[in-house]
Symmetry: C2
């Protein structure tokens, strides 16, 4: 049972409604949120100096095993198709000296100092790397348990039908600690929509785990695949446990295709992840929300074989998505913020989430007066708490034991 004795007070913060508050923490838990000045004086204090207090960010889509952070900048290897990029990445992976534990660890330290408290990481599973990447990320999960909660998707980056043996590896990955089973372009990569989806949904049903599928296939083809995923989700009773990442197709189809696809997704309670991609069409966030489809955010590639961009700052990601979607008014900016906090927390099933008594003391202090301003300006120098412990003070990671 957690101690009810206050251990730390975040003093003089600004609640999202503007009220000045003290946040009283007992161990890993928020014990109380009281008007500023009313917290007990006899415990450790962090002076929030009027900064906006929000819950920690929740990363909906990252690849801890792919990042090249910690290495000198590596020029991008060209390759215009998803298949060519997969090949380029495999070649690079064979030569990279720094192990996943080092690169992924750097990334975790970087993003937790930005304010990320929970994340969903995809991990490549193929017949060349086997479960090595998974084992590395499982070690990262253990090593950084105090900074971030990690959820792992077993991701068949090289396909399933075209890489015989991967289906069994996905099954093994779940047994060895992955939390969800992933998928990738059933048509574009595997050339077999039925075979690909049958394989991953079989793993999901066998182990009672969720599904998160990368879908880059475009236009009506991608929309068809989304409806296929929705049909299987309903048939197997997996409503609320399935997500599709990217789903560019939703931004590339006519109204007839859009509405029947959105209806299928809403009926199957399938959530869509977007990172606000630069060059391609993206899922229209407000139209999807209006149709009952949840859209959450993730960083995706961070300085890896797929992209030289990305730093894992989810507040900047909310800004990128808002900028791409023309979110200008305050409620829209606040929605962009929810896409990196409350919405992915619900999708990932983060327990005891949010700034309220009884919830986990996973807190970010932002130099802004409101959520809309925070998204518009993405202030740095954040102070971050995880499980009631100081993770970063004004942008600088605190030493760990």
């Amino acid at each position: 049972m957690p101690s009810l004795q206050p251990t730390l007070v975040v003093a003089g913060a600004r609640a999202v409604d503007g009220d000045p508050v003290d946040i009283v923490i007992a161990g890993e838990t928020i014990a109380a949120i009281v008007p500023a000045g009313e917290a007990p004086a006899d415990c450790d204090r962090i002076d929030a100096a009027g900064r906006l207090a929000t819950p920690s960010f929740v990363e909906g889509h990252i690849h801890l095993d792919k990042t090249l952070l910690g290495l000198p900048f590596i020029p991008h290897i060209p390759g215009d198709t998803v298949a060519l990029r997969i090949q380029a990445e495999k070649e690079l992976r064979r030569t990279v000296a720094l192990p996943v534990e080092e690169r992924g660890g750097r990334l975790i330290e970087q993003i937790t100092a930005f304010g990320t408290g929970s994340l969903r990481s995809h991990v490549d599973i193929d017949t060349e790397v086997g479960l090595k990447g998974l084992h590395s990320v499982l070690r990262l999960k253990e090593r950084y348990w105090d900074l971030v909660d990690i959820q792992i998707v077993a991701f068949p980056q090289s396909g399933i039908m075209v890489d015989p043996g991967v289906a069994d590896l996905l099954d093994a990955a779940i047994r060895e600690g992955a939390d969800l089973v992933g998928g990738l372009d059933p048509a574009g990569i595997d050339q077999d929509v039925t075979g690909h989806l049958d394989a991953i949904f079989a793993v999901a049903v066998k182990h009672g785990v969720g599904v998160d599928i990368h879908l880059h296939d475009s236009g009506p083809l991608g929309a068809f695949e989304l409806r296929q995923i929705a049909a299987r989700t309903r048939a197997l009773g997996l409503e609320g446990k399935v997500a599709v990442s990217h789903a560019f197709a939703l931004g590339q189809i006519d109204d007839f295709e859009f509405f029947r696809t959105a209806e299928a997704l809403a009926g199957a309670k399938i959530a869509i992840m977007t990172n606000g991609p630069g060059p391609v069409a993206m899922p229209p966030v407000k139209r999807l929300q209006a149709a009952g489809v949840t859209v959450f955010a993730g960083s995706d590639n961070i300085r890896d074989a797929w992209s030289p961009y990305g730093d894992g700052d989810l507040l900047r990601r909310a800004q990128i998505i808002g900028y791409r979607q023309e979110f200008l008014a305050d409620p829209d900016l606040a929605h962009a913020f929810a896409m990196v906090t409350d919405i992915p927390a619900a999708v990932l099933g983060v327990a005891h989430y949010g700034l309220a008594p009884g919830n986990r003391a996973d807190i970010v202090l932002l130099d802004a007066t409101s959520l809309p301003e925070a998204v518009a300006s993405a202030p740095r120098g954040r102070t971050v708490l995880k499980r009631g412990r100081l993770v970063a003070l004004e942008g600088t990671l605190s030493p760990r034991d």
Copy 2:
């Protein structure tokens, strides 16, 4: 004649080719760039600690009179069309307590600490505000002469034909110190392509100044207007003195329209400015360059009535443009960097620009090992010199006399 006596050495910088160098400064001028360690020891020094030295950034499009910086965050006033946004802005302008000198001054301090050394600012000219905004920005130009070189466009934000009197005000604005004449959606706002363009080109010819036209009009309409602008530019011998800002149309037309429009622009030496807009199509940078059309970058709106976004960081702007245009390989990332440095320097006619002996000592030190890495990561905490004087040290503005 500038002193040849060294006054300052930027020691141990990294040149863009990777070589370690000392940059020797004499007064406002770069006297020499020598191998690291070979600079004279008997003058003031800044330790670059291996940071990448680049020329200052050149802002191709900003609105110093529009920003609301310095005020509390003001929720965006909705309005979906350009006309509605103009109306919303006018209403807001009447109630804003803080004068342009304060708001624009804040913006100048912010962007010069990011590394901007020269800028082109549009200034609203209409029958309500008259030349007041121009006078304010002229005062800013004088007050901040040591931080930034300012070029001013007299911008008819409320139209010309629909706001009788503006044509005369544009003429007066040039007489009173504006450097170029602007324009705005000859079709979309003024409903008179011929009348609008005749009016602004008359001012340009009369005073021998350049032209920079805001063009949001879309698709074939916008492309028609671009060709109209090109035809006038050639007929009046203004090649190389005309720019068009935004020109979304170039990203919205078929190949036939694109190539005949690009050919017209190239023939008239018209440069295109883009800020890498979020929700709309943008000019395809590499296709235009290949067709002989110069494309440069600008920030455009920074926390104003048009947008809550924007901070004026041109390195981040290069990143946004690169992200939107899928610039991944090193040469493309370097091109994005040129879009905020060499290219706008040429368009604006910035004299003595670039890191070479005899040029002005307008220098930025970046925590990156190469230009591509700088664009991909947009590191903060920059050290900035203007006219051989320290403007900002690791992100913090130096005190001014």
